[in-house]
Structure formats: C-alpha cells, structure tokens
C-alpha cells in the first residue's frame, strides 16, 4: 500500500521534476508568440487564503494534495474563475483546445477539454484542472483494452466523447476555445452528413452524444450545455487525481446538499458494489485498507461535486470568441477526421510482431496427455504456469496492490524486485499482470498497457526506448528519436494516456556506462504526465545501491525511497515441496518423500525452483522408461511362452527417492573421474607425469617439455613404448580441449605452461583402480606440506 506520505512525496518529486522539465524543455512553440495568461478577477477563496508558514507542509503544498483536503481544510492556493490569454477569456466550464505536442502545427489534432478549476501554484504557474474529451483514436485504444466497454465502432466526423477523466495541466498549453453541441444542433448546423471542414472553418465546433465512464465504458448521453455537463458523475468514479481543496465552509454546505445524490448513485449500482465486496473478501488481509480507501473515495466524490456546483455559480456559456486565424494557410491541414479507417485497421503482422509483448499463455497441451507420467511431465515443465504461485502469495498481493493503486491513481511508480535466478520474480509479475488484465477487462480497474523489456532480449540498452515507444504509439523509430519522443510525451499533458506498466527484466544488463537508460526509466515515473509504472527485476540485490552510486543517486535525491524494494529469497525446501506438490495435484506418479528429497537437495544448494522441477521431470522420465522396459519384457516373455501365467500386471511404478537420486546424479555428477578413467594409456601417464612434476616443484604450473621428459622416463622405466614428442603435444592438446588441463596457447610449443584443471584427488582416485598406475602413483613424491 502506498502510504499517504509516499504519495505526497511523489507529488513533490513530480512537481520538482516538472519544474526542471520546463527549464530544460521550454514549450517549443515556434509559431505563436504565446501570450502570458493572466487571471481575471479576484481569487475565489480570497478570504480563506492564509499566508504560508514554514511549519505547514514541510516542503510546501504547492500542488493540491489529498492531505490538504483532509487536513485543516484551509487552503493557501488562490483559485480563480477565469483567466485571460491574448484576447480571449477562458472561464470555468468552457471548452478549450489544448495543444498536441506531437504535431508541430498549432491546431493539428488538438486535445479538447473542459475547464474544471483554475489556480495559481506557489511558483506562480497557472494551472487548471481539465476534463478530457475522447477523440477517435482514444476510443479505438480504449476498445482494445477494455472489451466490455461497449465502445462504438467509430466516431462520426466532428464527434467527440465526453469523459470524466480529469487532469491537471498547465494553462499555457491552452490554444483556443472550442464549442460542443448536441447531435441535433450539430446536424441542424452542418446537415445530416456533418462536415469535415477544418476546425478553424467551423468555429472549433464538435458534437457530443456519449460519455465514457471509467469503469463501465461508453454510455450515450444528451449534451445539455457545458455547465450542466459538469454535474455528470461516474457512479464508480474513484480516487482520481485529487481535485483542489476548497474552503471548509464551502465543503460543509455543499456536502449537505449533495450527499443525497451520492447515495443514490451508490444504490444505483449494486452489482459493482457486490463485485467490490467480493474483491475485498479475496484479499482479506487488506480488507481494512480497502475500507479506508472507500472512505477516501466518498470524500473525494463530494469534493468534486461541491467544486462543480461552485463553478456553476459563474456566468453562463458564451459563444466562443473569434479565434485568431492561423498565419499560414497550410494550417488547413488541420485535423481531418478519418472515421473508421484508423479503427478498422487491424495491426498488421509485422507491426504486431513488435508492439506488445503478450504475457505468456497458459500451456494447453496439443494432445491430451494419456498417462499419469505424461501428465506429470507436462505439469513439471518449467513453462507450465501453475494455477497459483505457491509461496509467493505475499509478494503477489503486494505487487498487485502496488500496481493497482498506481494504475488507478494514474501516477507513476517504481518497484524493484530482486532475487537469485529461479525464485519466481518474473513469474509473479506476469501473474499479477494477468490478473490485472482480467480485472481491466471486467471493468474493475481502468485499462492499462503492459510492456516487457528484457535486458537479455534487447541487443543494446537504448533499444528499450524503441520498445517502449513502439508500445505507446505503435510507431517504430530509432533509439535516439524514441528517446526524444518519450521525453516529450512524458513531459507534456495529454488525455490519451493509458497507464503503462513496464516490466524491465534483467535490469543489470540495461546499465550503460552513463546509466542513462536506467536513469530515464526511473525518472519518468516521477514526471507528472508520464503515467509510467516501472517494475524492475534483476538478480542482484544491491543493484540500486550500486546503480544509484555517484551522480545518479545525487540527481535522484529523495526518490530513492520511492523505489520500493522486494527481495526474493531463495526458496526453502518446504516451499519447493509445496511448489512441486501444487503442480502434481491429482497425479499419483510421485511418492511424497521423493519430492521432499529433491526439494531438500535443491534447497540446500540454490533454491532454484527450475532445478527442482527439472529434477522431478527427469525422474518421471526415468520411471517412465523403466516402466516401458518392464512392460516390453513382460510382453516378450508372454510371447515366448504364451501359456505360462505371468501373474497380475505389476503396480504402476512411482517415483521414489532412488529415482530422484539417480536424476540428481545424472544432472550434477562431476564427469571428471569418469573422464580420466576412460582416457587412453598415455593420456593417463601424462597426467601422472604432470602430477609428479607439480609435486616435485611445488608449483601450480609446469612447462610442457618437463612433463614430456617425465613422461618418457616413466615409459622407459615401465617398459611402455614411448610416444613421439608430437604425439605428446597432441595428447596435451586433447586433454586441454576437454579441460582436464589448462594449457597455454599452442604457440609456445615446448614451453607452454600446463596446469591441472581437475583436482589432484580426482586424478588419483580415478587411476588408483589400475594396478599399473597404482604402482606409478606410489612412486609419486609426497604432496608438499602446504
């Protein structure tokens, strides 16, 4: 659970980074000499404005936070009713066009929004809360992510869809006033066919006949005018970006007035309520948290209502004032609606190759397994994702909760997960994503995107940008360009942002010399408009400390503590038993003690679940082949003397400790002794010669020529035909290639240094069996005292 303090910290960090952003990337408006916005009229809450004291809000409550709402109720932020920019006055409730930074021209694909509130920040920036309209692309995107949303196939030309998505935004991005009418007005004005005139030539007009509710999706509505629409509420509208706080007196009066409505809304959707209860039951452990959050929701709701009521006290809608004409005629190429086309276009194969990484599917066997063994083998394969992840329940819940709240909040966040290989890090994240996807499809949480970037699967770290940008925009660009685009997108507001969960697997491989990639990916979530949630996975526990060394750590400053860390300890043997057993439910192929044996063996060494599963799978294979052999023999016997009674068929074999032991030996036994035993006579002699020289000299390595002399001497002593020197160097090379010896490069020839790569005990143990070599070994100089 993200605590409130964390959240506040988060905001602070965001505001900070935003400020940095603004310095680093000044609004790149080359075309227009943007007029500075200025406030119209006195602050609304002039009376309640208090002078800021250093004691309040440690680092300044410059951004409205929930804390401020909950706290004293006194706000020190001046709210306004309207502002003036250029010749135009914009008031609360007005429809405005916001500049789309992705396009270079001013009126190219602007965002459309309604002003909810306006205020001035501590730094003197003018900010507002805006409510977005969805356009064609947004709907298309939503439809892909939320299947149950009843979204229309496509929007008509000029049609936009109202939302209840609010977003905080800098006022400087406002470029003009728009107007929204209902279907009747629209058709009355432009005819049944509508119009595809450029924006400027139709007075920035749109029509609206639907609304997207966050959880339930699309619903048709009647556009009743800007002010009236502000009343519209989502029945399940939950913790949005918190709205600015109001004076306590206002809150009180309005809460009384609206509490009835809130109740009604809640009653109206009992099904959702029920769902929520169910969810709560599932996560009993966090039940209390949920309650708290529910309270928070209702509080929030009333906040919004009071605010909208208040805004309504303002003047009535004015017709949109005349807009400044774009200077160039080329601006005719303003957004042309291309209905259906963008929507109907299914992502082509080549594109879909790269866009989104699907979470791994549950394995579905092509042919149903027939025997218990086959079944067990299937289930024990590492790929088979179990129905649940045993022994990682806590981590699962924790991550899920973290991600869920981040998605719901529309804020960014970072999670760092570490642990040795095979402890279920990636599996847990995938499982969480899968469950969140399911929730999103059911409309329980807002839809989100998921991108997986694996350090091993990209050829160079900067390719991560390409992948991320590809997931966000379905365009493929070069790494540098992608970085620019991402920075731009994350630093500018935009309505069409689904929260994006990025899984960065094998994080340590994304480290570059300047650590830019990692720095960026941890920095972006803290930007105001990114909605990026980064889940970093690596097997080094102290990576953040190492990674955030010197300069990066100093730049990240207080953000390190946001990086919540999860350490995955290696599985203990009990957990391994559980994991294997959970996969073998209903399968009789295993004895319980066999599982335990395997688990203990693995648990003692690495705690790698993959190992445990592989051992068990191999054990099943062994039993299976044994059973097959026995069966064959039986049949053979039966064929030979068909009249003999063979007795009943033997019981089906089971995996016992012995088979597991056999499997483990197969997998982990060192081949060295076997290797030496099967070596040829002269290879063995060479090893003995080497050992004797090593012992005599007390060094770790010997020159080849010395060994050769010792070897030839031994041959003469024991009446063995001595090999040629070139044979000996071939022998040396062959032993070197199988890494019995470590040999210097062959260029040194006679003078190459040789050392043993296997332990001396292995050599002695392997050769003791042979009487000849026992004699030789007896004559070895005794091992040096050290």
């Amino acid at each position: 659970m993200v605590t409130t303090t964390q959240r506040v910290n988060n905001r602070l960090a965001k505001a900070k980074s935003q400020a940095q952003r603004d310095i680093l990337y000044p609004p790149s408006d080359s075309e227009s000499d943007e007029d500075e916005p200025e406030w119209v009229g006195e602050p609304l809450n002039k009376d309640t404005l208090i002078r800021r004291t250093s004691s309040k809000n440690t680092k300044g409550g410059d951004t409205p936070s929930r804390k401020a709402t909950r706290g004293s109720g006194l706000s020190n932020i001046p709210y306004y009713n309207a502002f003036k920019k250029g010749d135009t006055t914009y008031a609360i409730g007005d429809i405005v066009l916001l500049r789309n930074e992705q396009y270079s021209r001013r009126f190219d694909h602007p965002y459309i929004a309604q002003i909810l509130s306006l205020w001035e920040t501590e730094d003197g920036d003018c900010e507002g809360n805006f409510r977005w309209f969805h356009q064609d692309e947004d709907i298309a995107k939503l439809r892909r992510h939320q299947r149950s949303g009843n979204f229309p196939e496509s929007l008509e030309c000029g049609e936009i869809v109202y939302t209840l998505d609010d977003d905080k935004n800098d006022i400087s991005t406002v470029i003009g006033k728009g107007q929204v009418m209902n279907e009747l007005q629209w058709k009355g004005k432009f005819g049944e066919e509508g119009t595809d005139l450029p924006l400027e030539e139709r007075d920035m007009a749109f029509f609206c006949r639907g609304v997207v509710l966050k959880k339930t999706g699309y619903r048709p509505i009647e556009w009743r005018g800007n002010k009236q629409m502000l009343d519209l509420k989502d029945e399940k509208e939950s913790n949005r970006v918190p709205t600015p706080a109001k004076s306590s007196t206002a809150i009180k009066s309005i809460r009384e007035a609206t509490s009835g409505i809130g109740k009604q809304v809640e009653n109206a959707s009992p099904s959702h309520r029920a769902k929520r209860v169910k969810v709560e039951e599932e996560h009993e452990s966090e039940g209390s948290d949920d309650d708290v959050r529910d309270q928070a929701y209702s509080e929030n709701d009333s906040d919004q209502e009071q605010e909208t009521d208040e805004e309504e006290s303002d003047e009535s809608t004015k017709p949109a004032p005349k807009k400044r004409q774009p200077r160039k005629k080329a601006a005719v190429a303003t957004p042309k609606r291309r209905p259906a086309k963008t929507v109907a276009k299914a992502p082509s194969r080549s594109k879909s190759l790269l866009t989104k990484t699907p979470t791994t599917q549950r394995s579905i066997s092509a042919t149903a397994p027939k025997t218990d063994f086959e079944h067990a083998r299937n289930r024990l394969h590492v790929k088979a994702v179990p129905d649940s992840l045993p022994c990682r329940e806590d981590e699962f819940l924790e991550i899920q909760e973290h991600l869920e709240s981040a998605i719901e909040d529309g804020t960014g966040s970072c999670i760092y997960i570490s642990g040795v290989p095979g402890t279920g890090k990636t599996a847990t994240v995938h499982e969480v994503i899968r469950s969140l996807h399911a929730k999103a499809e059911d409309g329980e949480i807002s839809p989100f995107q998921f991108v997986e970037i694996n350090g091993m699967k990209v050829t160079e770290p900067s390719y991560a940008y390409v992948l991320l940008w590809m997931a966000l925009s379905e365009q493929k660009v070069t790494a540098n360009h992608a970085l620019q685009l991402l920075e731009k997108q994350f630093s500018t507001p935009g309505p069409r942002r689904l929260p994006c969960v990025v899984l960065m697997d094998e994080l340590d491989l994304l480290v570059t010399s300047k650590q830019t990639v990692m720095y960026n990916f941890f920095e972006w979530p803290n930007w105001l408009h990114s909605r990026l949630i980064v889940v970093a996975v690596a097997n080094t526990m102290d990576l953040p400390e190492r990674m955030l060394s010197n300069k990066v750590s100093s730049r990240l400053g207080n953000q390190i503590n946001i990086l919540s860390k999860h350490n995955y300890m290696p599985y203990t043997y009990q957990q391994l038993v559980k994991i294997v057993e959970s996969r073998l439910e209903g399968i009789q192929a295993f004895r319980r003690e066999a599982i335990e044996f395997a688990a203990r063996k693995v648990g003692a060494v690495s705690g790698d679940a993959r190992r445990a599963l592989d051992i068990c799978r191999r054990a099943v294979e062994i039993v299976e082949s044994n059973a097959q052999k026995a069966e064959d023999q039986r049949r053979l016997k039966a064929e030979r003397n068909p009249f003999e009674d063979l007795g009943p068929a033997p019981d089906p074999e089971q995996v016992t400790i012995r088979t597991v032991d056999q499997a483990i030996k197969e997998m982990f036994a060192s081949p060295n002794v076997r290797l030496i035993q099967t070596a040829s006579l002269h290879q063995k002699l060479f090893l003995v010669a080497l050992t004797s020289r090593l012992r005599r000299l007390g060094l770790a390595e010997v020159e080849f020529s010395e060994i050769a002399h010792a070897h030839l001497q031994m041959c003469r002593l024991h009446n063995i035909e001595p090999p040629m020197l070139s044979d000996l160097s071939a022998i040396c090379a062959s032993l070197g290639s199988s890494r019995c010896l470590l040999v210097e490069s062959g260029k040194q020839d006679l003078h190459q240094r040789v050392r043993l790569s296997v332990s001396e005990e292995d050599v002695i143990m392997a050769l003791k069996v042979d009487p000849l070599f026992r004699r030789l070994l007896d004559t070895l100089p005794s091992a040096p005292a050290t």
């Binding site: 190759l353 990484t357 197969e666 040829s680 290879q683």
Partner: protein, 485 residues
C-alpha cells in the same frame, strides 16, 4: 572375381565413412546416450515439449555423430508419419500435400567456430529458417537490433501446433563466450516457456562448459547432460574400427538408380564380394603387425579418427587387381604416423642449419635457455675451429685432398666442411626462425636481429634424432652432436 564397379563402390562407401560423410553402421558404447538424445528430440516433436541438453565428451568420441544419427532416425520416422500427424488436425488437404515430403520438424545447425558472435548466429538462424519455409522472417530484418526481437516474437507467437525446431549448437562452449550470452539465454528461455516447441542441443568437448554459463542462463538450462566417453576397452575400439571397414549390402546399393540396377543384375557377384571382403577384414584384424599399429593408436589417444586417417591410404589403393585390404599396406601407413613432425621437417635441412641446431643444443644443455644468434655462432665457430685443427692433423697424416685456405675441412666421409661466414649463418638462422623452430623469447625485443633472444622449440632428443636421420652428416658433426657438455 570382383568387378571394377564393385570395388569402386566399396571404396567410396568406406572412404565416406572414414571421412565421416556418412554415419557408421552401428553405435558402439553409445547406445544409452543415443536413446536419451533421441527420446528427448522425439518428445519435442511429438508432444511439443521444449527441452534443452548438452552432449559433452572429449574430441572424437562421437558426439556429433550421435546427434546426426538421431536426426537421421527422426527424419526417417517423421517424414513417413507426416500424414497421420496431419490427419488429426483439421488441416485441409492442400496443406497436407504441401507438407508432403517435408520433415515434420526443422533443424538449425549452428557452429561456434563459424558463428563467432550473436549477431552472426542470429543471421544464420534467420537464413536457415527462411530456407525452411519461414520466409517472412528472413528478408525484412537486416539490422541486428531488429532481428533479435523479431525472432523472439516469432518464436513466442508459436504454439504447440507449430512444428518444432531443433537447434544444434556445435562447439557450445564458444557460444557461451559471447558477450551477454544473450543467444543462449533466449534459446533456453524459449525452451522453458510455453512458446514455440524447440529443443536446444549443445555439443561441446569442454567438460566444464556448464560453468561458463552465467547464472541466469544456467538457471534456464535444464541441466541434462549426456557424456560420451572414449571406448573403455580395446575390444570396443576394435569393434568401431572394424565396423568402419566392413561392407554392408547397403553400401553397394545406395547409389544412383543405375547402380541399383547393376546390383540387381549382378547381385550374386556383389554378395560374394562383400562376403570375401569382410572375411579379409576380419583376418586383417587378427594380424599381429596390424594389431600393433592399432594398439598404439589406442594407447595414445583412443581416437577413432586416428585410425581412420591410417586407413585412408590402403582404402584408396583398392583396385581391381588388389580388391581387398591387406595388412602389409597398413604397416607402411602405420610407420608414417609414427614419425615426429619436427624431425620430419628437418630431414633435408642443410648442414649449416644442422650445425646451428647442434650448437643450440649444446647451449641448452648448458642451461642457456634463451640465446641469440651471436651466441650460437660462437658455439658453431668453436666447433669448426676444433674441427679444422683436427682436420689439419688428419689431413697431414693422410695427406689426402689437402685443406683449402678458407678454413674448410674435408672430412673422412668426403663431405667438405667449412666455416661459413656470419652473414650466411645468419640467413640459415633466420630460416630456422621462419620454420618456427626458434621463436623470440619475448614478443617486443628490439635491436639488431643478431642479438634478439630466442628459444628453441626442439627437444635435445629431437635434435639428436635429426642428426641421426640426416643423410650425409659427417661423422665429425655427428660426434659433436652426441657429445655431452
């Protein structure tokens, strides 16, 4: 008597086996491993169960042969059963006919010596995939950074219905030395997740190959390894060798259509020939001298290939007149294999070079490990001075040819021995360096070449050998060589 065609057929069949172009008739001592590898691949093909394994063993113990044999077997099985497989699916008939004659699986061969980095390996995978009919991949992606993700998504998109890919990674240890090991990571990762069914089979002679893997790569590897060891006892080794030489009926039949016809008309003769040939081979292996040759190879390295090398000559000599292998042929090639390479190299060397080598030998025997030309020349000159002194005394007594003024001396063998000038000797010295019989002691020695420090790559015994084998080495020189310091 055997016809010419039969002999030449036998020749090609056997030499194909010796050159490892065709596979041996039977596996000796590797049955267990073969069964396991085959079973692993078959499970991948039949049930789509991805897997990975390593085959480890010293060189020449049949690792690659094992894999090839298994692949051949699978090819046989799954080409025929192709249709049954597809009957289960509701594929339409067209697809069936298209797939006819194709394998039910793909094999991708990679070799660590050829694909020296991941980029090349990836390119090669793409190429082989596109050759196998997955054309959509091959052409479009050219850059490395693009092709990796596209290959991965390609593999990820697969289900169990896809036909499996078997990756054979020869010289596996070299793949493990690529930076990041991302190829291995990705292959193993695909193999252990529910994606395209693949089998990854690594073949290496490094017994410690597993230790080379990074821990996350290692964790993804299934830890199945199969070891191939050289044949344990002499009889197994003999079996393998004999199998390579024995003829089978198939050897004379698997040729083009014409030959099969020929065989049919002349099958009696072929049978007789095979029987006689194999009889002779058996006799060959009972021959004492031949056994000695084979036993030597066995003692040295247990390398089957060394035996194969031995056989090339005799097999190539098979002809109509001598259609059977004879032991005497092997004595000679056995002897050829027993020579020391360096001694052989110096067989026809000049007397001056030989003298220099002897001088070096004396230096080394005096524990002077590194030396330069000047030192060698001094040693050589000392000897020559002595020889001249002795020569004059000899010549005065024998009053033979007399001695020339240039310090040359006629030896009793009739070969004139003379002290060469420094410049000439230096040339000879450099010739030895070029043959890499002498190597600079340190790589960065500057200064005039006469003073550059050198080491000798010959053993003292080898130098003595050379002197002994040298055709017209004067006795005085030979005596000098034999003298101990």
């Amino acid at each position: 008597m055997a016809s010419e065609e039969l002999v030449s057929l036998a020749k090609t069949a056997i030499s194909a086996r010796l050159a490892e172009r065709s596979l041996p008739v039977a596996l000796v001592g590797l049955e267990e491993q073969y069964k396991k590898v085959l079973g692993l691949m078959r499970r991948t093909i039949e049930t789509g169960e991805s897997n990975s394994c390593l085959i480890l063993g010293p060189r020449g113990t049949g690792k690659t042969m094992l894999v090839r044999q298994a692949l051949q077997e699978l090819e046989k099985q799954f080409r025929i059963s192709n249709q049954d497989e597809y009957d289960d699916d509701d594929d339409d008939d067209d697809a069936m006919e298209l797939d006819d004659g194709r394998k039910d699986f793909m094999v991708i061969h990679l070799n660590g010596l050829v694909q020296t980095d991941d980029r090349m390996a990836l390119k090669e995978i793409m190429r082989q995939l596109s050759r196998e009919g997955e054309s959509e991949l091959g052409e479009s992606n050219t850059s490395f950074s693009d092709s990796l993700p596209s290959l991965l998504t390609f593999l990820k998109a697969g289900t169990r219905a896809q036909y499996p890919i078997i990756f054979i990674l020869d010289e596996f240890d070299l793949f493990a030395q690529h930076t990041k090991q991302s190829l291995l990571y990705n292959l193993f990762d695909v193999a252990q997740s529910a994606e395209w069914p693949i089998a990854v089979i690594g073949v290496t002679c490094r017994m410690d190959a597993l230790e080379l893997l990074e821990k996350r790569v290692k964790s993804r590897f299934s830890h199945r390894h199969y070891y191939t060891f050289p044949p344990g006892d002499y009889h197994d080794y003999i079996d393998i060798c004999r199998n390579a030489l024995l003829l089978t009926p198939a050897d004379l039949a698997i040729q083009t259509d014409d030959e099969v016809m020929l065989l049919r008309t002349d099958s009696r003769a072929a049978e007789v020939f095979i029987k006689e040939f194999n009889e002779r081979v058996k006799i060959l292996f009972e021959d004492g001298g031949f056994s000695k040759v084979v036993q030597r190879i066995f003692d040295l390295m247990k390398d089957v290939r060394a035996f194969y090398r031995l056989c090339f000559g005799p097999v190539a000599e098979l002809s109509k007149d001598s259609p059977y292998l004879q032991a005497s042929q092997f004595y000679e090639s056995g002897l050829q294999q027993r020579v020391d390479n360096k001694t052989e190299l110096l067989k026809g060397t000049s007397l001056l070079e030989l003298s220099l080598l002897i001088a070096i030998k004396h230096l080394v025997e005096r524990e002077v490990i590194t030396f330069n030309f000047e030192m060698v020349y001094d040693e050589y000159k000392d000897f020559m001075d002595m020889a001249v002194v002795r020569g004059t005394s000899m010549s005065s007594s024998a009053s033979s040819l007399g001695m020339s003024s240039g310090g040359s001396v006629a030896t009793s063998d009739g070969v004139s021995l003379r002290l060469y000038k420094k410049a000439v000797a230096l040339k000879a010295f450099e010739h030895l360096v070029e043959a890499e019989l002498l190597r600079p002691a340190d790589s960065f020695s500057k200064g005039p070449k006469e003073y550059r420090m050198m080491r000798v790559m010959l053993d003292a015994s080898q130098i003595s050998d050379v002197v002994l084998k040298h055709r017209d080495c004067p006795t005085i020189v030979a005596r000098w060589a034999a003298r101990r310091a």
